[in-house]
């Protein structure tokens, strides 16, 4: 099957991240991605795009966040691109295992990264020519 791709782009604000997630849902529905996987991919997008909306354009003019979706069976590619401050979440270490009885070991943040890692086979980050791109490679589940 030839690779198809779709580009969706919007201003990097939290309300528009929700709109982007809804658009992703529509595309994945059209592509026949099962419901259980759709919701996890929507979550992975929200995590990545929320990071962009919160951090990428701090102390600079608000820019855009783009979602580039591709499919080439059996894989889906979900890339989130911005032109703000580079930040490579794929380089962050895994969270330490928290002790349920010791709240001081419970994480304050960084919980989106394990979610993105767990839904994808590969998590890649590039920063070049002024654009930062985080790409998740995901094996499409059978319907």
């Amino acid at each position: 099957m030839p690779r198809e791709s779709i580009l969706l782009e919007t201003q990097a604000t939290l309300p528009l991240v929700r709109v982007l997630a809804g658009a992703l849902r529509g595309v994945l529905d059209e592509w026949g991605v099962p419901e259980s996987q759709r919701s996890l991919l929507e979550l992975a997008l929200v995590e990545a795009a929320t990071n962009v909306a919160r951090h990428a354009y701090v102390e600079r003019e608000l820019g855009n966040v783009a979602l580039i979706l591709g499919r080439e069976a059996p894989y889906l590619y979900l890339a989130v691109r911005d032109s703000g401050h580079p930040f490579d979440p794929s380089a962050l270490p895994d969270l330490e295992e928290p002790d349920p009885e010791d709240p001081s070991t419970w994480p304050e943040g960084g919980m989106g990264i394990p979610i993105m890692r767990s839904v994808s086979e590969k998590l890649e980050y590039t920063s070049e020519n002024g654009f930062n791109t985080l790409t998740l490679t995901v094996r499409m589940e059978e319907t």
Binding site: L14, P15, V17, R18, S36, S39, L40, L43, V46, E47, T50, A53, R54, L95, E97, P98, P100, P103, W106, P107, E108, G109, M111, G112, P114, I115, S118, V119
Partner: protein, 111 residues
């Protein structure tokens, strides 16, 4: 997102409806912190009406859990949908966040 709080004996039950994400997390944190500060440190989150949770929502739940524990109580989750349950599982915090299939089971677990 809406949160409706009801008292069941000495347990406060907060029923969530809608999405718990970056946009709504602060509102949820304020509502639940208010309960803890009012002395309701035995708290149940009824998640049966919650259709979505992100890592910002998870952070809120952990924060409320810390507050409840610090006051000698606990914070327990009930009725999570398969999607929300999956996020809890992926986050790796199922050992911290105690989950129950129903609101009643979570309330009774405090007895």
């Amino acid at each position: 997102m809406e949160i409706e709080v009801q008292q069941e004996g000495d347990v406060a039950v907060a029923a969530f409806r809608g999405s718990l994400d970056r946009l709504t997390a602060n509102e949820a944190l304020q509502a639940l912190t208010q309960q803890v500060l009012a002395g309701h440190a035995k708290l149940v989150a009824d998640l049966s009406g919650l259709d979505y949770i992100s890592s910002s929502g998870l952070r809120t739940l952990l924060s409320v859990m810390k507050d409840c524990r610090a006051k000698g109580g606990d914070f327990r989750l009930a009725g999570a949908s398969p999607d929300v349950g999956k996020v809890l599982e992926l986050s790796g915090f199922t050992g911290i966040l105690k989950t129950f299939p129903t609101r009643d089971a979570a309330v009774q677990s405090f007895a």
